[in-house]
Amino acid sequence: MNLPILRLGQTYESCDRVELDLGGGRVATTHTANPGLIRRDLLRISEAKAALDAIPADTLAGYCEEAAELFLHGNLESGFETRSGAGGSQSRFPHLQSPTDYVESLSALTRLPHSLVRMNMTKIHAAMSQVRTVIGGLTRGMPLEIFDAGLTTIGAPASAGLSGPASDLTLNYYPTTSSLGVSLPSNAPAVNSLWIPAPVMKIPVLLKPGREDPFTPLRIVQAMIAAGFPKEAFGYYPTTHEGGDTLLTSCGRGISFGSDATVKKYEAFPSISIHGTGRSKILIGEDMADRWEEFLPVLVESVSANGGRSCINTSAILTPRHRDAIADALAAELAKIQPLPRDHDDALLCGFANPAFAEGIDGMISGHLKQPGAEDCTARHREGPRMVEAYDQIYLQPTLVACTDPEHPLANTEFMFPYASIVEMPQAAMLGNIGQTLVVSAFTEDPEFIGQLLLSSDIERLNLGPFPTNRVQWEQPHEGNLFEFLYHRRAIQGNVAADSIRPAELQQT
């Protein structure tokens, strides 16, 4: 199977290719885009923007909803295959990828169990099918016409002290870019959900797939094109690290994922938003700490869902008391999660496509555990070492580390498997200790603590109540606000009426 480049919708076969082993003698060959090729395409990005601008946003949202079903259930074009014929001639034909084919291929490359691939598919489907809700959440309820004419009218807030038609507020938003470049990871297919609203918002997207997941972004793009989106609106560029840099720095806006080092690398570029290490946490309030046993399933889910690979998995639990009891009970539950074959329905742990990564993580944890103040509580409940080989793969088994010292190197870190620390500290000290945190689930009903949480500048997403950190509400932005990243509000004064200046072909009848 060959996965060529899509250059604003046009297929392009590169001379530089990477072969990826799908097992059973099957190979997926990605075509590598040289960085200059991406910049060259950006010279024509106005054509892509114009193609999206010609379609009402409401129609695009409808296409996206239709694409959701195609993504989940359809046989979609995914590159091409070649077949040798008589006389050594080679014929080629489109490769139609079924959902099952997608699940198996992605699992083979990423080592995600089939069950998790299907769960990620469901999340992506939800992001696509609920795109109106998602965009409504990002725009705080503005109608989609804002993307057609840049203008909309909303009722003035009651606090403005105005009433009647004269109090309506006209808003003007303009796009800050004509392209969004996204450099995607391989470990979590559902992060593709983040860029999905962009083409509905009429911003063309240029995607660099992760090396081990060339399939997900392409499947979404093909579903969108099949549903009606103009193909010019999409670029798909398997490329090198340098190509990734080019994509991010050359597009008007860029999104990437990575470690603290990635965040630092791009910090000089305000046009690039980096989704760094999540370090998501559960904070148990004084008022609920004694009820910890009720929340044990939520703790287990938060640490282990999606194989513990997501930035929204819990990596640290802070509690004012009962640390040892919670740790022992949680460790016992986590230790029950064991390696299973990738196609097993209950499989939750992911193997490592690159065993060296697993060895590095295992070595780092073992090394830090030699430093006083931390204990691997799961060690006493699981059979064998943390790193095991099973079903022809290397696994890291779930690990819960209880820390007596919040400064211990294992107390506030994150790894790509079900790993968490648990630290005991007074509620009053928690917010001063969490540092930058993507998701906080605060198990509390204490109004004073909630008030402090709401004003904390360290928390990106806040769940109030005993909810898992991986909980998703589609009307709430995940990390940053894509609409505010791609659009900017301009003050507009004078007697304007949105309908009167909207292009006639976009006016709703």
């Binding site: 001379c15 530089d16 590598t32 040289n34 200059g36 910049r39 840099d245 720095t249 000089a268």
Partner: protein
């Protein structure tokens, strides 16, 4: 342009050249202080070397010597009193590696000019060089090339040492701004002067072509080198950057070797094979784990350079590159090096092709 020699005759000519050059550098009447002093500690007599294979008695030349030694210690006695140029290698930081020279660059670039004939780079056209000038051999070489083809040469400098430092410091944004600054200047010259030929690096060439159609601006020939060029990259440069309308001469070279010309390719062929300016320089593809062994044809190995001119003798220097050993061809009846890339680039991070 094809060569009249057979591979066997070329090998014989190389052996004869080796005898001449080794005698030149190791004879007290003509040799340089550095090699005459080295000869004292060799466990063989260099004057007894008869063939290229005899050079394998030398250990690999350590280019750190070019940082430590006074370049004047490489002046052959026969050239004593003649003014000379001091050239420095490309992007090195700290104490630079230096090589002295007199006419080698003219010899190399005259041969290059003759190889391509009068039309590939139009005779009489003016040139623009966009790239590292300063203390580099290339700056004089390109001007010589332009002059012998009847044109003048304009220059836009790019300091690769600063670019490397910026990248090392994580200053990607500043590195990008510096590149823009260089391209701004080059675009200005092309717009306001009659330029027909360009020398630049492929990356700068790409950036320049994002500003304007080089074909429409009157560029007819481009000579480029200095970074890895995969087949895809060559195809992209020829089809899109040069719009299929401009002659393209990719080369492999450096201050220590001169320049290796790429052999002519069939339509649709994008893999590059470079051939050293033999007998003045010899490139071998050797087994990285046993550098006495030459790799089989079509296998990757490390690039080893031996430079054999009256101005400079450098035996068996291991380049920081690897390449595929390729067969001799009509144009060059000696081995070529194909698809050059940084040594072990698959296993470590390399900052290369920064400009």
């Amino acid at each position: 342009m094809s060569c009249s020699l057979t591979p066997e005759a070329a090998a014989e000519a190389l052996d004869a050249h080796v005898r001449e050059i080794v005698r030149w550098h190791f004879s007290p009447e003509t040799g340089c202080p550095y090699w005459l002093e080295q000869a004292q500690s060799l466990d063989f007599d260099p004057l007894a070397i008869e063939t290229f294979d005899g050079l394998l008695q030398f250990s690999h030349f350590d280019d750190e010597i070019l940082r430590k030694e006074d370049p004047a210690r490489f002046i052959p006695k026969a050239f004593a009193g003649r003014p000379y140029n001091v050239f420095e290698t490309g992007g090195t930081t700290g104490m630079p590696k230096q090589r002295i020279g007199w006419d080698d660059y003219k010899t190399d670039y005259t041969e290059f000019s003759e190889h391509y004939g009068p039309n590939f780079f139009p005779q009489g056209a003016n040139w623009l060089m966009v790239g590292p000038t300063g203390p580099r051999r290339l700056r004089l070489a390109i001007e010589h090339l332009a002059n012998i083809r009847g044109g003048a040469c304009y220059f836009i400098d790019l300091d690769p040492r600063w670019v490397k430092r910026l990248i090392g410091m994580g200053e990607m944004r500043m590195a990008k701004a510096y590149q823009e600054h260089v391209i701004d200047q080059a675009a200005t010259i092309i717009r306001h002067r009659d330029i027909g030929c360009l020398f630049t690096t492929p990356k700068l060439l790409e950036s320049l072509a994002e500003r304007m159609s080089l074909a429409d601006a009157g560029i007819r020939g481009v000579f480029a080198g200095g970074t890895t060029m995969t087949p895809q990259y060559v195809r992209f440069i020829e089809e899109e950057v040069l719009e299929g309308k401009i002659n393209y001469a990719p080369t492999y070279g450096n201050t220590l070797m001169g320049l290796a010309i790429s052999k002519k390719r069939a339509p649709g062929e994008y893999s590059l094979t470079y051939h050293a300016p033999q007998p003045r320089a010899v490139l071998r593809i050797v087994d990285p784990d046993n550098t006495d062994r030459v790799m089989d044809y079509d296998e990757y190995g490390r690039v080893e350079l031996t430079t054999l001119t009256k101005e400079f003798f450098m035996p068996r220097f291991l380049e920081r590159d690897e390449a595929i050993r390729r067969q001799p061809c009509d144009e060059f009846p000696w081995d070529g090096v194909g698809d050059v890339r940084p040594f072990q680039s698959g296993t470590k991070t390399v900052i290369e092709g920064v400009y």
